[in-house]
Symmetry: C2
Subunit: 415 residues, 2 copies
């Protein structure tokens, strides 16, 4: 029975740095997918416009194409009159009806909106003047020919798909979905559907971590549950290394006897465990390892600590594997904390909070908890904030950056 | 050729109210799914805890279970000594080693953390005192027996799945995925893969709206593209009414000649189109209708206006169909606008903005645009804000509530 404590805790930032320096994250291969299947994938090529968008000057409104100069001076009290034409080209004091998206006829340089006109037989009365180019979408105004409309490393949202489709591109190169294998360890664990003994609990971490993976468009691979046995753990991790691009484990890492996962990982070969014991709370026993050139993140068995560990270590890893241009962070709001929060000097403390909005201001209500095993603190919370290493706590009324993992209730509706 | 303008525009709030009053939104049926497939579904039942969670008092840390009273007065300068026991019950001045999650032995009422102890043969030296209950997760602390751990109407996030699993529940009742049929209309439209004529454009709205549906865990059904022909439009809408719970259309709605979709919808029967012409910009020509008891949202053909129309009208509809407890809104930040914004009095104006963070403050940079056809304004933007009906614009430096549809770049890193 080894009962060493951690001799030294590594700061979160240093841990990430050492991890990535050792790992040399490999970008995933790219695959070509049809645009309608590309939502939430990460673009692996620049989308270059082969033509101008729009391809021609077109009307941005329903109305009449005119020569702007003919409208100068028109007002509600002094309307002007223009003659309607059906020709492809207009002359002085003529107007041609256009609908949104229609090409602008030759000779016209502006469009006057339908609602600012009145049609009387073959003529229109206009009540406003327009300036040259007004209400016209100029050729290339949306995207110029040769321009990169959407850049490699962009997570594709509905608006990106729309823009790519507008350029006539029906398929795109995206990063392959990373495969992340997930293993839970612990003698105390019973799988869902089973019947726990007096001192056992249901295993929940694989379900939570799989869901977190799916939210990032990552494919989780289930390695099941291993007993507290180095050989069993090692066997399952080896399967994971064959099938997946990265491995997450939970449990079997601590300051004490149950340090079995790091032990198993170190048997695979160098470099093995790089960092073990992080200056953070919760998730202190997290370890980061590299085996067979693949990253292994050894998370605490406590569900809350496992989630925070995923957020802090697995998410940046996945973002790099995907080749994302910017690391993705959760939506963040500045919120006032409703009560004093105690933290530990020298540790990055992740405080779960319930963020709400009242009278146009955001408040963050810290969720009290005794430990990182209380899952309901994560369902009562909709976000978290971080107390930095150099603070022993924060005072009521201080502003924090709260990162959101669920909706914020709107108590009122302001601008 | 009808060339009427809208006689009267309806405010957004009134439009929604009239729509929902006429429609009597039907909640979708519920289905039972395994927990691992339940991510992002909406819970259709309360999850009642059949047992306490935890089911027993357990240690929240790795350390030693003790009688708190035995530790009083211990400090780094004045350590106390306790004898280690392996029994299931401890007596005075005894301690039993426990790992996180282990049951607390009888007689113990606190746990002292491993790092605050030193083991010397059969004894431990302790350097801190603990109070009764310290480092113990009490039976029922997470969820009490009989309590609703997760309530009906909750969108299931990873943390909800974890909590439900911890209660031993392997499947849940969720609302069926709503089926939303999507039809694009317009002679000017060419499907992706086709070859546009001089004055034609690629159809992009179905792709954008399908993606927006998928983001809400809604199943889109493609009704294809209809020409500007009332009968063709009517035929496709009828197919949609058979297959789907709601219909979205784009194009064929305006102040003018191309008012074909409302005309087609009205042929199906009462009540037909309820609201047509909304006091908003963009998306003014939006119409809301009910046919065969099902909602039809008639959106502008301009992609940006269609997206805003979806956000304002389709999203609240879908939230109600799903039975969501709270309408879901996008993450929102208070941001300072970087330049003056002009709006139209009497219209709710949706301004696309690029939100960024600098020196711990949020700024919203309005994206210039000539019209709602410029899709790249939605990819340059990562959010929008609303100028209310009673404002002609907003001044530089005013604070707005910016709703985010993409990541915010973090220019710095603060607390």
């Amino acid at each position: 029975m080894r009962l060493k404590g951690f001799q030294k805790l590594t700061s979160v930032d240093e841990a990430l740095q050492v991890f990535f320096n050792t790992l040399h994250v490999k970008r995933l291969k790219s695959v070509t997918v049809p645009l309608h299947s590309a939502l939430n994938h990460v673009l692996a090529e620049d989308i270059i416009a082969l033509e101008n968008l729009p391809r021609f000057d077109r009307s941005a409104v329903d109305g009449y194409a005119v020569k702007a100069e003919d409208t100068f001076g028109a007002s509600q009290f002094k309307p002007k009159t223009l003659r309607i034409t059906d020709k492809d080209e207009i002359s002085s004091t003529q107007a041609k009806q256009v609908w949104t998206g229609n090409p602008i006829p030759k000779g016209a340089n502006a469009v006057i909106m339908l609602e600012n006109t009145k049609r009387i037989n073959g003529e229109i009365e206009i009540w406003v003047s327009v300036t040259p180019s007004e209400n016209i979408s100029k050729k290339g105004e949306d995207v110029r020919k040769g321009e990169a409309a959407v850049k490699a490393g962009t997570r594709l949202r509905p608006q990106h798909l729309g823009l790519i489709a507008a350029l006539g591109k029906g398929e795109v190169k995206v990063s392959e979905k990373p495969k992340v294998a997930i293993l839970a360890t612990g003698n105390e664990l019973v799988e869902l559907g089973g019947k726990p003994q007096e001192d056992q609990v249901f295993e929940v971490n694989r379900l939570i971590l799989s869901a977190l993976c799916r939210e990032l468009n990552v494919e989780p691979i289930d390695l099941g549950v291993a007993k507290d046995d180095v050989d069993e753990i090692l066997g399952k991790i080896k399967i994971g290394l064959e099938k997946a691009d990265a491995i997450l484990t939970t449990g079997g890492t601590s300051v004490g006897v149950s340090d079995l996962v790091p032990e198993a990982v170190n048997k695979i070969g160098k470099p093995g465990v790089i960092v073990h014991g992080i200056a953070m709370r919760p998730a202190m026993p997290t370890a980061l390892a590299v085996a067979d050139g693949k990253p292994i993140i050894i998370l605490s068995g406590n569900p809350v600590a496992a989630m925070i560990g995923f957020e802090v270590f697995a998410k940046p890893l996945i973002c790099r594997m995907l080749g994302l241009k910017h690391a993705e962070s959760r939506p963040m709001v500045k919120a006032k904390i409703t009560k004093r929060v105690i933290a530990v000097l020298g540790r990055k403390t992740f405080v779960r909070v319930h963020v709400f909005q009242r009278d146009g201001e955001f408040f963050a209500d810290p969720i009290s908890t005794r430990g990182s095993s209380i899952i309901s603190t994560m369902t009562k919370a909709n976000g978290y904030f971080v107390v930095p290493e150099n603070r022993e706590g924060l005072e009521e009324g201080e502003f924090v950056s709260a990162y959101l993992f669920d909706n914020v209730e709107m108590v009122d509706e302001n601008v």
